[in-house]
């Protein structure tokens, strides 16, 4: 269990930012993963009073506050209508309702965890993170960066019409996944996102245009094989590299067929 010397509910983002410049400071998300680390935190900074706990829907975007919970994501009607339920499917097997009432979208994204369903899902959308100092950064770029002392405040999802699908394989139903896969077709671009490789989720675009002429049993199969070839995998408790590569192929194909069945 992590030790905390001091706890502050920030009055403003500026105050939070200033406090966070110390190496020993830490911004609190849902604290579900943070509390498992063994170290010591000087100042734990809580953003809970800054109104960052909502999901707003505008004409052309969804704006997720960093402190919005996974449960909010799961139950948001607009976001689920837009993603054909992929938002809910991406998070509904994460531990339990209580856990998802606490885990925050901001914490999940900031952690850039390899096993993250949330990161996998958001990478399949047209997503940018908003950093207090760094401004807006495409999620794909942010995911590659190392954590720094900035603060993630919001996540913006542009509402471009598209097709979406999400699949993951869990040996035990609420466990961390053995592999995650999200797929989207937005403005003619197909991307597959593979997470829990077990490394951080990777975006694989359909550069060869395998699905360009439509999603069929055959093209979906070919795209699955392509994605699996493009995805580096490794081994851990939840599966070997070979198994993950195999799953990448199968889940991508299934996602493609699932997305292909949708009318946009």
């Amino acid at each position: 269990m992590i030790q905390i010397q001091k706890y502050v509910q920030a009055e403003s983002l500026e105050q939070a930012y200033q406090l966070n410049q110390k190496r020993s400071a830490r911004i609190l998300g849902g604290m579900l993963w943070l509390r498992l680390s063994r170290g010591s935190v000087g100042t734990a900074i809580d953003l809970c009073r800054l109104g960052l706990d909502t999901i707003e829907e505008t004409q052309d975007a969804f704006i997720l506050g960093a402190m919005a919970t996974l449960r909010q994501l799961e139950r948001h009607p607009g976001l689920n209508a837009y993603t054909h339920g992929a938002a809910a499917r991406a998070v509904q097997d994460i531990v339990g309702v209580q856990f998802r009432n606490m885990a925050t979208v901001g914490g999940s994204v900031w952690g850039r965890f390899g096993f993250s369903d949330v990161l996998t899902f958001l990478l399949s959308l047209d997503t940018a993170v908003e950093l207090y100092h760094g401004g807006r950064v495409p999620l794909e770029e942010f995911a590659r960066r190392k954590p720094d002392a900035d603060i993630l405040t919001r996540i913006h999802i542009r509402k471009t019409p598209g097709r979406f699908a999400y699949q993951a394989l869990r040996v035990q139903r609420t466990d961390l996944p053995a592999l995650t896969c999200a797929l989207s077709q937005i403005e003619g671009e197909t991307r597959a996102v593979i997470g829990a490789r077990p490394g951080r989720a990777l975006v694989i675009r359909d550069a060869p245009g395998i699905l360009r002429d439509g999603i069929t049993e055959e093209s979906a199969r070919a795209f699955g094989a392509y994605v699996a070839r493009q995805t580096p995998t490794g081994s851990n408790l939840r599966g070997s590299a070979a198994y993950r590569s195999h799953l990448a192929e199968i889940l991508t194909r299934r996602c493609a067929l699932e997305a292909g069945g949708q009318n946009v």
Binding site: D93, L169, V171, Q172, R173, T174, A178, L247
Partner: protein, 764 residues
């Protein structure tokens, strides 16, 4: 099955503690013991095998709030066993409270006692240990006669002759049988020779190991522990600490689950030692990690089955060899292994001409194993049942029919089960009932569901015992209060199973009163009559019989006191529940009057204590059938339907018997699908939390359906046999069978993960 109609027994009465538990009342150890004592923590070895060259605690002791830090230098040098077993224990005396020689990653190195948890943690980090790291023995197949000795010590002592030899890493070894196995096997038309591997599984009861100790008002050591075995615990503490039993009192409050884990005194010695040394109350609560790495999980076993049969499906011969891994200490090692043969082979008594059962139990530098529901039978049944299913498939027979032809039937004598008779056996009816309810004929054929998914079914049978025959002792004290209600005092341990309630049901049946009229108390070494404890499926069968006998004796006493009041002899009166009637005059005295009489100028106590022990251990039987859906593209298996039909004699409380069954099935499902106590290649545990060691959620188990086929066990109370353990035994072989049906591959190692299923299909 014909039997007497009962009034209270065989009814689904609510557990006596149900509303207390469901409304969250403070009934567990940590809820009501004071917090002003010392927090006890254990420093554990990170190495699986090491010798403590030096250990320095000066700095740790200086941490504010630290009361004491103890090392191997401070503790008695006596060796003892922490297995909760009847004296003389079959388990070797191979432990000290703290030992200089540490034998698994997690072995205790130092005991820290501090005012607060934080102080204890700080002190723990400041203890300096200089380990001489030794090469660990991690492969149990290489243990026997390995030059690395886990217990080289001179004072290693086996209280029972079980074939052990610490110079060979051998805890126990045996060879027994009946008939000429070699001759029969040679004459068989089909012989299957298969080897299986089952892993260690963790009981993961929701309440971790925990003990509170204090000196009571007489200066005695008062131990409040989450334990299944108060009396064994007292004996173990007495030996380990070197103090007489008269100075120790052990009691158990409500227990947050046990499943056998708490049949071993896993943590009691540490706070007890602290309290004796400091005179202060002490509390030790294991973290989930400690429960996972230093608990008492199931014995890993490798089982070789040779099964001989004729082409018509007649099973004629079983030859079984089990190698069991007891880990770093020998708790329950010599006994669990016995069940792998003696509680699997008798299932096929029907046509069996010969059997042989040999075993070795060996030490390794891994977490010591212990007692876990099923206790070796689970492993043996998995191996034998899987082999029988394979035989049926190979012969082109329906696997339920091959079992019909060979199973043990009522009235048979079972040579592989110590020649005990199957007095009550409804296994044949269980099979028929299960086949019908499950719709076996429709579900057995493999069905392609499209999308790479197939549905298939599997079957398995199981048995267990109802006590340790000629060993276990159950006792009950029943006494009358002056308002005509009763107290029932037991030494058996209700760990959630509901034994307090079912024993009260039996008492109420005997005493012709309601369950509410019987208050139950247990278990406390100061006040309870002796009971071996709640394990070996024995409480209903053995302690239940003791209750029945005690009630009979109490009724005689009540009649005798009533006769005195009515001015006649005890032969002239009848017990009528609320009163005693003088038969010739019709005059009555109420129980209340009798109760008050015992308090005034009386030489008769309205109280009876009776012990019971059984020369036999009647097996319960069951059949389990599972339907799965298997995704051939990912290897993922979903349980759709699990149907079980159980013969536990007469169920004393059908609702509780059903829950026992359902709970056991889900544990078994977990062991087959996901559970595995794992280590890295250096012998360090890696499944040390619920993040890594996954147990089934309610999304992982499918629909469960449980039914009962009654039999009447003449030696049991009200015809009852046991239920607690048998129910964990069928999921592994039934699922293994169903997976074979879906994929054409037999898996001979548990758990069977989606990855193994996928890749084994590819290979074939």
């Amino acid at each position: 099955m014909e039997h007497k109609e009962y009034r209270v027994v065989n009814q689904s009465v609510r557990k006596k503690d149900a509303m207390q538990l469901l409304l969250g009342k403070p009934v567990y150890m940590d809820d009501f013991t004071p917090d002003n004592g010392l927090v006890v923590k254990i420093l554990r070895s990170p190495h699986p095998h090491a010798w403590i060259r030096d250990i320095r605690t000066e700095t740790a002791c200086k941490v504010p709030g630290v009361a004491a830090v103890y090392t191997w230098k401070d503790v008695p040098q006596t060796r003892f066993a922490i297995a909760g077993q009847t004296y003389p224990e079959p388990s070797p005396y191979d432990r000290r409270i703290l030992d200089r020689h540490v034998r698994f990653a997690g072995d205790a190195v130092a005991i820290i006692a501090a005012e607060t948890e934080k102080a204890a943690q700080r002190a723990m980090r400041l203890i300096r240990v200089d380990y001489e790291i030794r090469e660990p023995l991690l492969d149990f197949r290489a243990s026997k006669d390995n030059p690395i000795l886990v217990h080289p010590e001179e004072d290693w002592f086996p209280p029972c002759p079980v074939g052990g030899d610490n110079r060979r890493n051998l805890v126990a070894s045996d060879d027994n049988g009946d008939g000429d196995v070699d001759a029969v096997m040679a004459d068989c038309e089909v012989v299957l020779d298969r080897t299986y591997h089952t892993k260690a599984f963790s009981q993961t009861m929701m309440e971790t190991f925990r003990t509170y100790t204090e000196l009571d008002r007489y200066g005695r050591l008062h131990v409040i522990s989450s334990t299944q075995i108060v009396f064994h615990c007292r004996r173990i503490l007495s030996r380990a600490l070197g103090i007489p039993m008269s100075r120790i009192r052990v009691e158990k409050p409500r227990i947050g689950g046990g499943f056998g884990a708490k049949q071993t005194a896993v943590c009691e010695v540490y706070p007890a030692f602290v309290t004796l040394k400091t005179g202060r109350p002490a509390k030790l609560i294991y973290t989930r990690e400690e429960s996972q790495i230093a608990g008492s999980p199931r014995h890993e076993m490798e089982i070789r089955v040779r099964l001989g049969a004729n082409r018509d499906g007649r099973i004629r011969c079983v030859d079984l060899y089990t190698l069991s891994n007891t880990g770093a200490y020998g708790e329950h090692g010599p006994t669990t292994v016995g069940l792998s043969g003696h509680k699997s082979i008798p299932l096929y008594t029907g046509n069996l001409e010969a059997y042989r059962f040999r075993y070795d139990v060996v030490y390794t530098n891994l977490q010591p194993a212990g007692a876990y529901r099923g206790y070796g039978a689970t492993q043996g049944i998995y191996a034998l049942e899987t082999t029988v299913s394979e035989l049926a498939e190979q012969l082109g027979m329906d696997p339920t029919v091959i079992r019909d032809q060979n199973m043990v039937k009522e009235g048979m004598r079972m040579p592989a089960y110590y020649n005990e008779p199957a007095n009550a056996c409804a296994l044949d009816r269980c099979m028929e009932h299960c086949r019908r309810m499950f719709h076996w004929k429709e579900k057995y054929p493999v069905r392609d569901m499209g999308n790479g998914k197939v549905r298939a079914a599997g079957v398995a049978m199981a048995m267990q015992g109802s006590c340790i025959s000629r060993v276990d002792v159950g006792s009950a004290t029943v006494k009358l209060s002056e308002d005509g209600t009763y107290n029932l005092i037991i030494g058996a341990a209700d760990m959630g199973t509901g034994c307090d309630t079912i024993l009260a049901q039996m008492a109420a049946e005997c005493l012709d009163c309601s369950v509410d009229d019987v208050a139950v108390f247990g278990a406390d070494t100061d006040t309870s009559p002796y009971d071996s404890g709640s394990y070996a499926s024995s409480t209903t069968y053995v302690t239940g019989k003791a209750v029945e006998k005690a009630c009979g004796e109490l009724k005689e006493k009540i009649c005798s006191i009533g006769a005195e009041l009515l001015g006649c002899t005890p032969q002239d009166v009848a017990f009528e529940g609320k009163q005693v009637r003088r038969l010739d005059t019709g005059q009555t005295v109420s129980l209340s009057e009798i109760g008050y009489k015992t308090q005034v100028f009386s030489n008769q106590a309205a109280e009876a204590t009776v012990s019971h022990s059984s020369p036999v251990s009647p097996p319960p039987f069951m059949v389990g059938m599972v339907e799965i859906e298997l995704d051939k593209e990912t290897g993922q298996v979903t349980v759709l339907d699990y149907m079980a039909v159980v013969d536990c004699g007469i169920p004393i409380n059908p609702a509780l018997a059903r829950i026992q069954t359902e709970g056991g099935l889900v544990q078994g499902i977990g062991h087959t699908l996901m559970e595995d106590v794992r280590y890295d290649r250096n012998g360090r545990p890696i499944g040390s939390s619920f993040l890594q060691y996954k147990i089934p959620t309610r999304l992982d188990m499918g629909n469960l359906r449980v039914e009962f086929e009654h039999s009447y066990e003449p030696t049991g109370p009200f015809g009852a046999k046991s239920i607690g353990e048998i129910v964990i035994n069928t999921p592994a072989p039934a699922r293994t069978h169903a997976i074979y049906r879906a994929t054409g591959v037999w898996h001979r190692e548990l758990p069977i993960t989606p990855e193994q299923i996928l890749f084994s299909q590819k290979k074939e």
